[in-house]
């Protein structure tokens, strides 16, 4: 073993200095907050957030009893100060993106109560644009001559038992 490289020591020490130091203080603690009917299915969402020095350093959401996997917070700006939890958190819950803005008062005993304002959109959300084409037609009336187009699925018999399914349109 050679002498310990100084660079390593300094980096380790710097990380130590920067790391969280969980201690009992104002703005510290683990919050478990149930957001009533906060998913698009009308289920509750429980948000867990760990605060150190008023800043949320860890968070996850669960939607029991649906599942107990943690929903990944993408954005977390919750603050715990002056007896209130305020800020926003965004979560991906089963491919639906939620963003909640939370404002709750925390009583001396730790009881938290407040409101949330949320928004959600499906994971496939994206702008779309394109060409529009078509025609204005007369509505169908009895006896009106008309042009028919039909799309039938799997309308013909298979040539061989193993052949692939075919589709037809008439």
């Amino acid at each position: 073993m050679g002498p310990l490289p100084m660079a390593t020591v300094l980096v380790a020490a710097a990380c130590l200095a920067a790391s969280s130091c969980p201690a009992r203080a104002e703005g510290d603690g683990r919050l478990g907050l149930v957001l009533r009917r906060a998913t698009q299915d009308g289920n509750d969402l429980t948000l867990h957030a760990g605060f150190v020095g008023g800043r949320a350093v860890q968070a996850w959401g669960t939607t029991p009893p649906d599942n107990n996997i943690p929903h990944d917070p993408r954005e977390l700006t919750l603050r715990l100060q002056d007896g209130r939890v305020r800020g926003s958190v965004s979560l991906n819950v089963r491919y639906v993106l939620y963003r909640f803005t939370i404002d709750a008062a925390v009583a001396a005993g730790g009881r938290a109560e407040g409101t949330y304002l949320g928004a959600y959109c499906p994971a496939g959300t994206q702008p779309v644009r394109g060409q529009l084409s078509g025609s204005r037609q007369a509505p169908v009336a009895k006896g009106t001559p008309a042009r028919l187009q039909r799309r039938w699925s799997c309308a013909t018999a298979r040539r061989r038992a193993a052949s692939s399914t075919r589709c037809a349109r008439g």
Binding site: I69, P70, G130, Q137, L148
Partner: protein
């Protein structure tokens, strides 16, 4: 076809796959259909005399409803007198009469690419009395998407305004946003079209696929002080998981005496770590790899080591490839350059076991190498490299870095007490890295292998040398005590202490390396299990040794003394331990995954430790996982392969029974092995470390 007075006047019948070998076409022979304002019914005859379908004289009976000139119905097909199908069909009907004056009528529109930009959306809108009163849509094999056209305006032949569509999911689930949610998606399209000659419409649309909905409600809960959390979630002393394969070198956690949950869904997620080793979740399925090390638990702390790619020098050919892959390009160039950076840091993070908060992080800058893409192209999630789980003696945590450096860190502070390396293999890794950096390219392999987790006991740290041997380090000083032994490619050395009741206890600890027993103090080989095959890490249970075997020879069990080993039983080759799945010994039984031979006996097996009798076999639900079996308090745990989930089984004496559904949708660092300590499952995922409490509520 054209329909006049209920009869078809000409028409074609053809496959959508014209020109392909199974395409076909024909001419309608006759059609007699009754078409009312809202219904259609009748029969069609169509002989098919060439093409890929079975040839013959087809006839179809159909009935359907007509809404906004759109037909939705069912048909029955007949060929040579046999009925062979009754299915749904869709269609359209366009009256040959001119559309009414004043802009009323049916607006049959196609919005090109409106479904996620992948498929067209067909719209059938009705305008009556000067306003739009209804509509429906077809697209993605779903026929009746709901359309709200109330906002559309028509003025001087110009159609403008918003169209709201509720897109229903289709069974085939072809769209990205449809498969898993299974719920309708609302889209908004702003139309701008002009009517031309004969009612033809042309224009543009612009909108949003998937709309944002708002929610409002109340929130209530509790803020618990950290001291209270620590008290509630404390890990009992003596129930650590201090190294690879756990405290007793057999995959089993120290029993808690508590009942465990009956389904993983009932396990409480106690925390998700503050630390998030390279934030790979965002990049899935193109993660930034950081190695396969699992966590360990010692003295109320969880330790994890990994590499963190960094630096300006990347493999430029992989970067260029990645920029051409849509999914990766979206992640941005900084992400891609990090993923394919050649240099890396060795990182050790210490997490408080009760809270998941970070206690310290030690980072050894540019002392590592990015294993994430070795030998692989940019397009795939390349293997993440070594498997060198750290170990701890409580006072210090010992970490093998990803180029073969060895670090001894103070468990409380993270201060590095000493640093060494594994010798020639480390130098070879450094040369390899220097060559890659100079060439800005991954140019083949080099170094040795880093797939043998270290272990520690009685002041000696045992580390694989990367070339099939072992090194003993003095834990106090880092001095090398010995170099010797032999270790296989995918196993780790484990510690054995002779049982007090066996008459063999001599106060010494021994190293089991594959099939051999070494003196921990000197590294000298004391004995080798004659004719045995090692493979994965051996499991130690008291004075019994379970070896994983090979295709020629299955699992075997040996009774150990400091002077030698006697074979107790051996199973046929079909019961050899599969891949890298080191066996679990718990409650007098061996659990492991076996590969079988020629497809036989694949799955999870349970073998009586005392006799070698196979008492249980569970063929399902266990894939070719690289992670190893775990157990605690009557529960068998393992991570399935390829993100199939984390599984839990009830232990013997009966055949292992899967308990509930696996934990799915957790992005695992595939092939890592979790830790089990004091009834808690500590799981490394691609999104940080998770702690599940497996204990039932008291």
């Amino acid at each position: 076809m054209e329909l006049r007075d209920g009869k078809a006047a000409g028409g074609k019948f053809y496959s959508l796959r014209e020109g392909m070998k199974w395409g076909f076409e024909g001419t309608l022979e006759s059609a007699r259909l009754r078409l009312d304002a809202d219904q259609i019914a009748g029969a069609v005859r169509a002989p098919i005399d060439r093409g890929g379908a079975r040839l013959g004289r087809y006839s179809f009976e159909l009935t359907g409803t007509v809404t906004n000139n759109f037909i939705l119905g069912r048909y029955a097909a007949h060929l040579d007198g046999n009925e062979f199908g009754a299915r749904d069909f869709t269609g359209t009907v366009a009256p040959l009469a001119a559309p009414p004056a004043g802009g009323d009528g049916i607006y049959a529109l196609v919005a090109g690419g409106a479904l996620e930009g992948l498929q067209d959306l067909e719209l059938y809108l009705r305008r009556e009395g000067g306003r739009f009163v209804g509509g429906l849509g077809r697209g993605g094999n779903v026929m009746n998407h709901l359309v709200d056209a109330n906002g559309l305006k028509l003025a001087d032949g110009h159609l403008t305004g918003p169209l709201l569509v509720t897109v229903l999911p289709e069974p085939q689930q072809r769209f990205r946003s449809w498969p898993r949610s299974g719920r309708p998606i609302r889209i908004r399209l702003d139309l701008d079209a002009t009517e031309g000659k004969g009612g033809a419409l042309a224009g543009r649309y612009e909108g949003q696929y998937g709309m944002t909905e708002t929610l409002r409600g109340t929130a209530a809960g509790t803020l618990a002080a950290w001291d209270d959390v620590r008290r509630r979630e404390a890990f009992a002393a003596g129930r650590d998981w201090p190294c690879w394969r756990g405290p007793t070198a057999n995959g089993c956690g120290v029993p808690t005496g508590r009942a465990m949950v009956d389904e993983l869904q009932h396990a409480r997620l106690a925390w998700r770590s503050e630390a998030r080793p390279p934030d790979v979740y965002r990049g899935f399925p193109y993660p930034i790899q950081s190695g396969y090390n699992g966590p360990i638990v010692a003295d109320g702390k969880v330790f994890l080591s990994y590499y963190d790619p960094r630096g300006p020098v990347c493999d430029e050919k992989f970067v260029a490839q990645a920029m051409g892959i849509e999914g990766m390009k979206k992640l941005g160039e900084p992400w891609i350059r990090k993923k394919f950076a050649i240099d890396a840091d060795d990182v050790v993070v210490c997490v408080e076991a009760a809270t998941g908060l970070t206690l310290w992080e030690a980072r050894f800058v540019r002392k590592s190498v990015n294993w994430g893409k070795q030998g692989r192209g940019a397009a795939i999630s390349a293997k993440g490299g070594p498997h060198i789980v750290p170990c701890s003696d409580g006072r210090r945590v010992y970490v093998v870095g990803f180029t073969g450096r060895v670090y001894a860190l103070d468990a409380g502070s993270g201060q590095c007490a000493w640093e060494s390396d594994i010798g020639p293999a480390h130098l070879a890794f450094e040369k390899m890295k220097a060559r890659w950096l100079a060439a800005r390219s991954i140019d083949g392999g080099g170094g040795g292998r880093l797939t043998n987790p270290p272990t520690v006991a009685d002041g000696v740290l045992v580390v694989a040398d990367g070339h099939g041997g072992l090194i003993g380090f003095d834990t106090a000083t880092g001095a090398r005590l010995w170099h010797g032994g032999r270790i296989g490619s995918v196993s780790g050395p484990v510690i054995w202490r002779p049982s007090a009741g066996s008459g063999q206890a001599d106060g010494n600890a021994y190293v089991i390396a594959d099939t051999a027993c070494l003196d921990l103090r000197t590294g000298g080989e004391l004995w080798r299990a004659a004719g045995a095959h090692g493979g994965c890490t051996a499991a130690v249970a008291g004075d019994l040794l379970v070896l994983s075997g090979s295709r020629e020879q299955g699992m075997s069990c040996w009774r150990m003394t400091p002077r030698g080993a006697t074979k107790l039983w051996e199973l046929p080759g079909e019961y050899h331990v599969a891949g890298y799945c080191s066996p679990l010994v718990m409650g007098g039984h061996v659990y492991t995954r076996v590969d079988g031979l020629e497809g036989r006996r694949q799955g999870l097996v349970c073998v009586e430790l005392a006799t070698g009798k196979v008492v249980g076999w569970e063929p399902h639900g266990i894939g070719g996982t690289c992670s190893s079996m775990l157990g605690t308090d009557g529960r068998v745990l393992y991570e399935g392969a390829c993100y199939t989930g984390f599984f839990m089984y009830a232990a013997a004496p009966r055949t292992p029974v899967q308990l509930g559904q696996p934990l799915r949708d957790i992005r695992y660092g595939e092939s890592t092995t979790a830790a089990v300590a004091d009834g808690r499952l500590i799981l490394r995922t691609n999104d940080g470390i998770l702690c599940y409490d497996l204990r039932k509520d008291d």
